[in-house]
């Protein structure tokens, strides 16, 4: 956008930067249309000004006044229960570990529940995270029933009067109805013990347009309450979450910025938008 006049090339550059950030064709076209209208109506002449308006439109879409706090406070009788879900390899287990670290730093008593009984060494991976951040991990037999491990973890949380139980689940593609049913059951079984306070859907920032389909199906099955956008330390921009937030009406709450225990941060709309528009 180095030209001094807005011409067709300017519009193409704007469109390209949105498409390259995985914002998607539909949202991109809508944004560009709105921008064109505003540029015309407000008599904007310079590409820099147009870019400034684009930034504010994007920020408006992403939302600056949503409640992005993670609900992790125990009630009088129950621990908060955080259920972590998503497709394979997005960063669920890592996020459980990092989130536990954040909560421990807030002086909370945390328990991890290893309800991925399927993937090779998934339980050991979560337990390692537990040791790393100094919280216990409730585990069941390998290949056992994930719902009963989740139940046991929450039960332990109730009995020990913990503040938070974080339940890790196996990665599953949203297209696998059997596995999605299993996930629904995990949640229902937990609810026999205590209400689920937060269902975090973990989406990998490198994900393209499939992210929206993932979100739709997971939201249907387990009523997602927040998004975690992981691997934002990559070159990917994570633009798909714009469509996801809008369609689900569920905010991105946290971002993953690396593989270390401290690489979890609250979602910051301005930083996200600026990174999205940067080259």
């Amino acid at each position: 956008l180095s030209r001094d006049r807005i011409d067709e090339d300017t519009w193409e550059e704007i469109e390209d930067s949105l498409l390259s950030a995985d914002v998607g064709v539909g949202p991109t076209q809508e944004l560009v249309e709105r921008l064109r209208t505003r540029v015309r109506v407000e008599g904007v002449a310079s590409p820099d000004q147009a870019r400034e308006i684009l930034r504010s439109e994007l920020l408006h879409l992403v939302g600056t006044d949503l409640d992005r706090s993670v609900h992790a406070d125990r009630t009088a009788t129950n621990p908060a229960v955080v259920l972590v879900v998503g497709v394979n390899g997005t960063g669920k287990t890592t996020t459980c570990g990092k989130l536990a670290r954040v909560l421990v730093a807030e002086d909370k008593d945390v328990i991890l529940g290893a309800a991925d009984t399927f993937r090779a060494a998934a339980v050991a991976q979560l337990a390692t995270w537990g040791e790393r951040v100094g919280v216990p991990t409730v585990r069941g037999p390998e290949g056992g029933d994930p719902a009963s491990v989740a139940f046991d973890a929450v039960k332990a949380g109730v009995e020990q009067e913990s503040d938070v139980v974080i339940v890790d689940t196996a990665g599953r593609l949203h297209t696998k109805t059997g596995l999605m049913d299993e996930l629904g059951k995990v949640k229902r079984v937990i609810e026999k013990q205590a209400p689920v306070s937060e269902v975090l859907l973990v989406i990998d920032a490198t994900t393209g347009q499939n992210g929206l389909t993932q979100a739709r199906v997971f939201a249907e099955v387990v009523d997602v309450t927040g998004i975690v956008l992981t691997k934002l330390d990559s070159t990917a921009k994570g633009g798909i979450i714009i469509a996801v937030q809008r369609e689900l009406g569920v905010p991105v709450k946290l971002v993953g910025l690396g593989e270390g225990a401290d690489d979890l941060a609250p979602f910051a709309p301005e930083e996200f938008v600026d990174a999205l528009l940067a080259d």
Binding site: V25, V87, G89, W129, L173, T175, T206, G208, N210, E259
Partner: protein, 299 residues
């Protein structure tokens, strides 16, 4: 959820039924539709651009097909072009003249490398080979155990001299695995490596060091079929940082359109060799360009 390309073109060409040839207008309209279909399939923007230019050129120059209506003519050209890019020089694994053959796996975090190690091991064992899996991801918590379990499930040996989870030198493990394979007569060595980002210079150097320690016959770049526009940037940084000979597309059992296949192939010129389509170790196949072409276009 997306209208298929056929549906889109159907609408575009309704008014053209019965006409015999493509006008420039027809070509522009369909090119726009196909551009959207490709973008919704996550084909990377620069690749879409090159593809559409090529499509227009061919459509303009194409002889009038009496047997095909304009929509069919366009689809035919698109399909041929896609298969050409995806297929090109699809080839089998190269085996070393003097065993062991060394296959190194590389890719982003969570792409499916460790699972693929097990799948390749099982597949090669089925062909009469004696594969050895090498635990050279000493970073991710319990990656070593994961590979051990995968090896056990595949009935394939695993070389895992270091505990990992932050302990041990992956370059050293990789180097020693070759001696181990020679002395124990394993004829294929499959080196699992830690996931890494293209922009992580230190980790890219580590990948290059592992490569130099084992001189792989094949470096396979494992990429998640759900990846979006970042496919090009990432593929380029792995090409430049460590280099690769072939691509494996994972998680194709979902409903992602898999435009990454086209993007990575187009940008790096490296063929997609295998498709991974499930978590179980036998859910793995050689790559079929024609099926992928239809999938990308939603047909």
């Amino acid at each position: 959820m997306f209208a298929t390309l056929q549906d889109r073109l159907e609408a575009t060409f309704k008014r053209l039924r019965g006409k015999g040839r493509l006008t420039d207008d027809d070509i522009d309209t369909s090119a726009r539709e196909i551009r959207i279909a490709l973008l919704e399939a996550d084909v990377a923007l620069p690749v879409v651009r090159a593809f559409i230019a090529q499509l227009k050129e061919r459509a303009r120059g194409s002889a009038v097909h009496q047997a095909l209506n304009p929509a069919e003519q366009v689809i035919k050209i698109v399909n041929e072009e896609l298969i050409e890019i995806l297929g090109g020089d699809t080839r089998r694994l190269r085996f070393a003249k003097n065993p062991p053959t060394v296959i190194m796996l590389a890719g982003l975090q969570g792409a499916g490398k460790t699972t693929l190690a097990g799948k390749l091991g099982l597949w090669l064992k089925g062909q009469g080979h004696q594969p050895l899996l090498v635990a050279a991801d000493l970073q991710r918590p319990n990656a070593v155990e994961q590979l051990q379990v995968v090896g056990q499930r595949a009935g394939v040996a695993v070389f895992a001299p270091e505990p990992g989870s932050g302990v041990g030198d992956p370059v050293d493990v990789a180097r020693r695995s070759i001696e181990h394979a020679r002395s124990k007569l394993y004829d294929v060595v499959i080196v699992d490596t830690a996931g890494r980002l293209g922009i992580d210079a230190e980790m890219m150097q580590q990948a290059a060091d592992i490569r130099d320690a084992v001189s792989p016959d094949e470096i396979l770049f494992v990429v998640d079929a759900m990846i979006g526009q970042d496919a090009v940037t990432t593929a380029e940084s792995f090409r430049d940082g460590v280099g690769f000979d072939g691509v494996v597309l994972s998680k194709l059992d979902g409903d992602a359109r898999g435009g990454a296949a086209l993007s990575v192939r187009h940008v790096t010129g490296r063929p997609v060799m295998f498709a991974s389509n499930g978590e179980k170790l036998d859910e793995f196949d050689v790559f079929h360009p024609d099926r992928m072409a239809s999938r990308i276009l939603g047909m």
